[in-house]
Symmetry: C2
Subunit: 373 residues, 2 copies
């Protein structure tokens, strides 16, 4: 039992973070920008924030960082993936309201600027812009030797959608079908626990992976053009999947007159971040979620659970477990939407359904459930 | 001479930062968003970046942090001003292209969340939103005990302008008149040097100010509703002035049919940040700038120069020296524009002119000049 690990014991107090953020939010007064003007805030059902009015459009901002995954990147001096992580964490959030990401800015805080690190970060951000199909519209590098001991990377993404076309979960119904999109690995959440497990296992990030990391729905980004065995560090740093392709395309296709489903048939989109499957609870106040045909977890999740003695419930509360995004669609068009997505991305499948048995997520294959986010 | 201080000796290597940022930028490929579509990058004369197309509008993003001023806030546990600093650094940059700021997101990295600090930050950001007239459209608080040793605060502001109405410096002419807008103090640049001077002077931030800090164009934000003497910490932490009022209003007034000057008469806007007066050089490739009627520096600048033995040239290369924003206007309408601004803000005055004698800034009263940014 002494071997059991969870997210709190790894040093992250989600409740304390929640209290701190609530304190900040409660201090904020209403916006001074009146409804109907550019920049006026838009309240969406389901508590989605970050949207503002802009004529016939809504603009959306998302801001997030890579978090403690950066500590592994620093330790290995490997930066090829973290720009993609930073982009993904932001644009994937924008997709969840049906917004198309169009621009991005990065913020880097370092104890001391290092041109080589910045060149590698730049290459990673350039690749991220290509994958997310956004313009890099600026950035800031701050030298803060008194504040940061190693590199911190965050960013902000801007997206837009047409007024009235936000996807909010508001029209979700019992019977709606859940389509799971495979992740590329751990993505950018849960790394405090990952690092603790690595320490506990006495592993170096440069060690050859102790398990077969092959997974049919992703590839591992190698640090070098290497034929050497894949290291555990390469697996753990595999960049977060960016879902703009296919999700933006799905929405655009649904908007076409001659498509066989419409935007209204896309009822909710959920980015599976910290909190794992419990993220689904944010989409609706009453409905429940049943996962009965889950995507297979990548091998690193199985290894982490074993090496750290982490309970299954805790694993699904912390990690994406192979499924990085879930799209809830009208049951009537679910096969057709799923087929459209499968043609764009390997491993997409129907994983479950929306159910009317109370606000909870039930993973029926494993017999675990989540009742709060 | 051993007492002489400059920015480099305070631990900030501007050249190294430049090289690092150049490395990052050179790694970035062209945007994948084609011209004419939402999000396509817009290249403006004068090297202004950060603008993207959006139908009949351009959208602008600015991202920046508060920097090492935060270390003084942390030491004193005083957060009432830093949200305003963070907002100001971003929205003041947007104003320089003629954009109206409409929304803002904040990013906070902490070793451990503290609800009291977050409540104070929230109050400061709320006040900042009111002053800048923007909507707070989201934010992120990251707990990163392995990366930050104390709080880091940055943010991103979104603004917009009508296509064709960007203010770029492109139409600047010899004879254009420079209008100076007073700063509120040191703003958010040069704090590595400020902290070094404080240490050198053996001063505590809680010490009563050794000089009379009164300055007719600003007030000091007190930490408490106190009748005690003003401390040096309160002076040094005085929040950065947000220039949305009057600059956004000036542009809107100029757009009116019955105003006696037009947007074209506003030829260039310059936010005086790190680099001081040399920031003006960014506005034009050939023209020069003569300051012959400067705004008075606030008393803290005089004190810092004396206490640190900092050369005048270095002071004007590092700090705003009392003038936080400079607007270059058509000479024909300069009196009328200056009068309009004076009615909105105490201390505005004509400080000099654009001259055609090579790309340099000459402060003729002090006999100093800057030839590169």
């Amino acid at each position: 039992m002494a071997d059991k690990m969870d997210y709190a014991s790894a040093g992250v107090d989600i409740d304390l973070e929640g209290t701190a953020v609530a304190s900040l939010i409660s201090s904020l007064s209403k916006s001074v920008r009146p409804s109907g003007t550019h920049g006026a805030p838009v309240e969406l059902p389901g508590g989605f924030g970050g949207l503002i009015e802009f004529g016939d459009y809504l603009l959306a901002l998302a801001t997030d960082g890579v978090g403690s995954k950066l500590q592994i990147a620093s330790q290995l001096n490997q930066w090829s993936g973290v720009g993609i992580d930073c982009m993904a964490m932001n644009v994937n959030d924008l997709l969840c309201v049906g917004a198309e990401p169009i621009a991005f800015v990065d913020y880097v805080a370092v104890p001391k600027p290092d041109p080589e690190v910045h060149a590698a970060l730049g290459a990673s951000l350039a690749e991220a812009c290509r994958l997310a199909r956004v313009t890099l519209a600026g950035g800031e590098t701050a030298s803060l030797p008194g504040i940061v001991t190693e590199l911190d990377l965050s960013g902000t993404a801007l997206g837009y959608l047409k007024k009235g076309e936000a996807i909010t979960g508001e029209h979700l119904q019992s019977g709606d079908v859940l389509i799971g999109l495979p992740s590329s690995g751990i993505h950018s959440n849960g790394y405090s626990l990952v690092r603790k497990i690595m320490e506990h296992a006495g592993m170096d990030y440069t060690d050859v992976s102790p398990f077969d990391c092959s997974s049919s729905t992703r590839e591992i980004l190698r640090f070098n053009d290497s034929s050497d065995d894949v290291t555990i560090g390469e697996i753990l740093l595999n960049p977060t999947r960016i879902y703009c392709d296919p999700v933006v395309d799905l929405i655009k296709y649904a908007q076409l007159d001659d498509s066989n489903f419409s935007v209204e048939d896309i009822r909710g989109i959920c980015h599976i971040t910290g909190g794992g499957l419990s993220n689904l609870l944010r989409l609706h106040d009453n409905l429940g979620w049943e996962i009965n045909n889950p995507l297979p977890p990548h091998p690193e999740f199985t290894w982490l659970a074993e090496a750290g003695g982490v309970e299954t419930w805790e694993m699904y509360r912390t990690f994406n477990m192979g499924c990085g995004m879930i799209i809830a669609v009208n049951q009537q068009h679910s096969d057709s939407i799923c087929a459209w997505l499968q043609a764009k991305m390997d491993g997409v499948q129907i994983i479950g359904q929306v159910v009317d048995n109370g606000r909870k997520v039930v993973h029926s294959t494993l017999g675990i459930e989540f009742t709060h986010y």
